[in-house]
Structure formats: C-alpha cells, structure tokens
Amino acid sequence: MKAIYLDNNATTRVAPEVIDAMLPFLREMWGNPSSMHTFGGQVGRHIERAREQVALTLGAAGPDEIVFTSCGTESDNAAIMSALAAAPDKKRIVTTKVEHPAVLNLARHLEGRGMDVVYLPVDSQGRLDLDALRDSIDDQTALVSVMWANNETGVVFPIEEIAAICSDRGVVLHTDAVQTIGKLPCDLRETPVAYLSMSGHKIHAPKGIGALYIRRGTKFSPMIIGGHQERGRRAGTENAASIVGLGKACELAMAHWKEDCRQMAALRDRLEKGLIDSIPRVHIHGDTGHRLPNTTNLGFESVEGEAILLLLNEHNICASSGSACASGSLDPSHVMIAMGVPFERAHGSIRFSLSRYNTEDDVDAVLTHMPGIIKRLRELSPVA
C-alpha cells in the first residue's frame, strides 16, 4: 500500500532530480575538492555552483555569504555561538518560547553558563509580541534569534519588521528559516538578517546537509576548526554529493515555488475544511492569516494524538503530533503550551504538512479515514 506522507515539516522526499544530480559525485566524481589535481578540483567547481544556487535562492548578495554545514541545527548553533563570540562583553540573548530545540536547548544550555536569555511569549494564535521584542533588547544584548516560521503550526513571524527593530537597536539578528525556504519568497538584500539557517532535507535534498547565510561584514567565529575549507569558516572535507544535491534542490525550489505553494495551499485548505466539516469539535492551532502554505495543526477534543497517529498509520497515512505521549515527554509540545492551547486539545493535536508531491488523492484518503478514527477514539473516551 502506498504511503500517504503528510509529515513534510519533519523531512521531505529527496527529489528524483536531486538524486540524479548527486549520483555522479558518489560514482565517478569522488575526488577531494581541496586536491590540487584536476580529479579533485572539478568537484570543487560543482560545489561553488551549488553555493551560487543557494545564494540565489536566498537573495544573498553573493555566494561568499553561504557556508555549507551538516544540518539546520549546526547552522543555528554556529550562528548563535559566533554572535556571542563577536560580542564577548554582552550577556543577553533574545529568542522566543516556540523556537525549534536546536535554538531553544542551546539557549537553555547557555543560560546555565550565565547568559541572560529572554524567551519572548506568543499569543493564542502563535503570534509574536513585537513590543515585547523591542523592550527586551538592551545594551547587553548580543543577539536576537527568532525563527521565520514555526515548524509545528506553520505560523510565520514578520521577519522584515523584526529585522527592522533589531537594525534600529544595533543588534544582530539570526533567523532559523528551516521551514521557510521554498514556501515563502526570500530576498535577503531587502531584509537585514545577519545570519540565516536552512536545512537540505526540508526542501527535497538529503539529510546531513545544511547551509548558513552570513551577511557580508558580519563577524564570524568558526565552531569547527581544522582545514581551510569554506574559507576557513567550517573545516572538514566537503560533503560534495549532498552539497550538489542541496544546490539542485534550491534550483527546483526557485523554479517551482509559486506553483508548489499554490498547490500545497489548495490541498491544505481542502484538507482542513474537509476535516472541520466532517468532525465536530476540531480547532485550528495558529494564525490562519500568516501561515506556511503547507501546514495545518488541528486540535481534536477528547482524544489523544498518539492514538490518532497510530490509527492513521494503520491506513499508511503519516502525520505528526504535538501530543506528549508521541514524544516521550509528559507535557504536550512547548509550542502548544506557549500558545496557551488547553491541555486536552494540545494532547489531541495533529500536524499535517504537505509537499509538492502530495495529491488530492492523499487528502481524500485522510478525509475518508479521519472521521472514523476520531469517532472510534471518542467512543473509547470517558470525556467525549
């Protein structure tokens, strides 16, 4: 039975074109790009081509602003640690309560080592309070790190306004844009972000490759010290095949993003409306006016998310949950808690996230099975 994959904010299928682009670098062109001979040197040229593709996608001023990393988490860590190293006298980081653990757990780690961390709240729609952001920045602030779009709800933060606030206050801004690339237009010439993180496997490139944008003129301290690769900003032999794959994935995203987004939004809305029309007591979590086109997060009253996921899985439908029981923790997702979603709804939250490969048939399969699943679980529930 075909898997109906609606968990694309977790990871995406590697695009066939990306695989085709990568294969020569696994089969024939396996030279070390740092080698002096032609065999290795030709690989280096393809890496630089990929760097240009990434730079174009982000609207960077040039490929020299792109450093390849292993993943979004490394990009986040490198940006934050670098900003702190550049301002050793400053002791404050401003971030939000709804960041990805790649930022949130690093912030907590730094807090334990004496940093003053401000975790900005969000409202019930998952929106950031920009006045609170403005007020939280002081002379001691080394960095503001705010995600561009939330991975659980798809809520998009107004990064241009945030960047303007940071710029006014003279504070560098890092944004985790892992969920945004290929789903929103991005032109960093217009948005004064100092650092931006992205990840390959969220845009149909493989896992194990990411990129960090570092605006020209921004100080940077490498986390990985060794050889001279990446202009001395990240040592270690380049993951050539994956870098080429990331470049190709960016090219595809650039070429198709408008059509992809139109299609994903249409399918998402069809799914959302179909579920709300056919199932009572369902709530959309997040600001529906400012969301990624591919994401919906729904709270089903009186049932628990892991149970829903497993029953969906019986029909080969893959989704995700903010439920505690699905994650191994005891509290539901920190994003649901930060939004003040009532616990009983947070425990029953399900995220559907689409990609360019999803079809109406996928959505119809969910609409066919979901009402029965919720009905069945509510019949089991003592509070339905």
């Binding site: 149970a307 029953l311 019986e314 005891l330 509290d331 616990f343 089991l380 003592p382 509070v383």
Partner: protein
C-alpha cells in the same frame, strides 16, 4: 514511533470490554485530561463474588488503551481478593511488556482497579481520593503513590519514578523530594506496603515465614523474574500450590515438552525460590 509489542498494538486496535456497566458494583476513575490520560473502570460481581463483567473508557495513548483493555481481561473471573493482588507489572506482562516511559499506563490501570474496589467497599467516591501529601504538583502525585509504586517495581532513580508515576515529569521542582523518598526506601525507613514486602522484610530479619507469606514471595518471584525469563523462550509457568516446603507448578508453552525442562526446574526455578524463601524449598512439576 514507540517499539510496542504486537499484543499492545492488538489490544489498542481491537480493545476488549469498552464501555460502562449499567448499575455497576464498583467504579473507579483516575488520571485527568490535563495529564494526558484518564481511565474509568467499572465492574460487576456475580453471586459468588467473582468479577463477571469489567468495562473501561480511556482517554490516552495506545499503551493507555491497551493497558485498560488488558486489565479488564485479567480481572474477569477473579474474586476481589485475587484482583487486589494484581500489580501494574501483571498488566505490562500480559501485554508482553511496555516501553519504560509508558509504564505509568500500567500503573494507571492498577490504580483504577484499586479505586473501583474501594468504591465497591464504600471506602471512597468513584473518583479516587489520593492518600498522602502531593509531591508532584504538575501531575498531582503523592508521596504514598510514589512509595508504593517504587517499592512494587523496585525503582531506584527519579527517572524511573517519572516513567511509572509521571511524578517529576513536569517542572522538575519535585526531583529532590522524589530522591528523598527513594533514599528512605533504600535505607528501610518506610513501612512496607504489600504482603510480599512484609514477608521479605521478615525474612531479612531472619524470622520464620508463614505459609501465606511464602506464597506472596513466590508469586512475586514468578511474576517478576521467572515468568518473564521463560516467556523469552516461548514458555510460561503457573503456580498451583504451596504446601509447607513443596511448591507445585505447571510448566506451559514451549517449556511443557522441553527436553531441558528438568534442568530449568532445578537450576533456575527452584534455585531462585530457594534463594529468596528458604534453601529447603523443593519445586515439583504437575503435568496436565
């Protein structure tokens, strides 16, 4: 995804005994929506005082639903005295095991059963009133609950207590108090809470055990150590009787016709019981 056993998935997909009994003899409800799981158990007794029907309604994850289903299957046909001896480990074992992080689901089943029996006996309302002082404010877990579950399951770390009771799984402010309770148990400063614990304490002091105390220890040994080991090889064991120093058991499953059954009986089962109860214990196999 969790590594659930086939039996957990089977009971989750096809839960047994869902619903509520009209005019039940006992009803117990534990957990809460805020905590993410909640179980309402009701039972009916026949004229001989055996549980003739047991039904549940559960809000929770796959293991909570499977544990509830298993519980109702386990207690059907049992007297209340027999049902009272069921531990959370019995529920987990019935399901072929639960992930450590999900053991609190089996504890919830045991607590719902306690609440339902207490309700039948007129000792409490159907929604359980917790004994002791609340230690974990996030999940409303008391010191008495922690002591009981920790002793019955031989828990030694705060993390284990969290897996089994949820206590400490929220803000973490109670970790220190949970550790104190664990230390009290380790240092023998708390009173034992089950007959088996009373018997083990008596044995540790060199005092003679009564027959019923021996039975409690042997039941616990079979449930916690012997049966799980035999089940790993497809076997099983039932305790039939204990007469002075002779323990009668029946081997089942792959053990029943195993050429090494006698070796298993003497070198594993008998030695385990001798070590915990008395060197003079002899184990006899009764064949069907």
């Amino acid at each position: 995804m969790w590594n659930y056993t086939e039996k957990v998935i089977e009971h989750f997909i096809h839960p047994r005994n869902v619903g509520e009994i009209e005019n039940p003899d006992g009803v117990g409800e534990v957990g809460s929506l805020a905590c993410g799981d909640m179980l309402r158990l009701s039972f009916k007794l026949d004229d001989e005082g055996r549980i003739v029907d047991a039904r549940f309604k559960t809000f929770g994850c796959a293991s909570a639903i499977a544990s509830s289903s298993a519980l109702t299957e386990i207690i059907r046909g049992k007297t209340l005295e027999e049902a009272e001896r069921i531990t959370n480990r019995d529920i987990a074992e019935y399901l072929g095991g639960l992930p450590e992080e999900k053991m609190h689901c089996s504890v919830m089943g045991r607590e719902a059963l306690e609440a339902a029996i207490a309700n039948y006996r007129g000792e409490g309302a159907e929604t359980r009133t917790l004994e002791g002082t609340v230690v974990c404010k996030c999940y409303g877990v008391t010191d008495e609950q922690i002591r009981k579950v920790a002793r019955e399951n031989r828990l030694t770390t705060v993390e284990e207590v969290t897996n089994y009771t949820k206590a400490g799984g929220g803000c973490g402010l109670c970790h220190e108090r949970i550790q104190e309770i664990l230390d009290e148990i380790r240092n023998g400063k708390t009173a034992p809470t089950t007959p088996a614990q009373v018997a083990q304490e008596k044995k540790a002091k060199g005092l003679a055990l009564t027959n019923i105390e021996k039975i409690h220890i042997i039941e616990q040994l079979i449930s916690e150590r012997i049966r799980p080991a035999l089940r790993q090889d497809g076997g099983d064991i039932d305790l039939l009787d204990v007469d002075q120093n002779v323990v009668y058991v029946r081997l089942k499953g792959a053990c029943e016709n195993c050429p090494s059954a006698n070796y298993t009986m003497r070198q594993f089962i008998e030695k385990e019981i001798q070590r915990e109860v008395s060197p003079s214990i002899r184990v006899e196999e009764v064949r069907a």
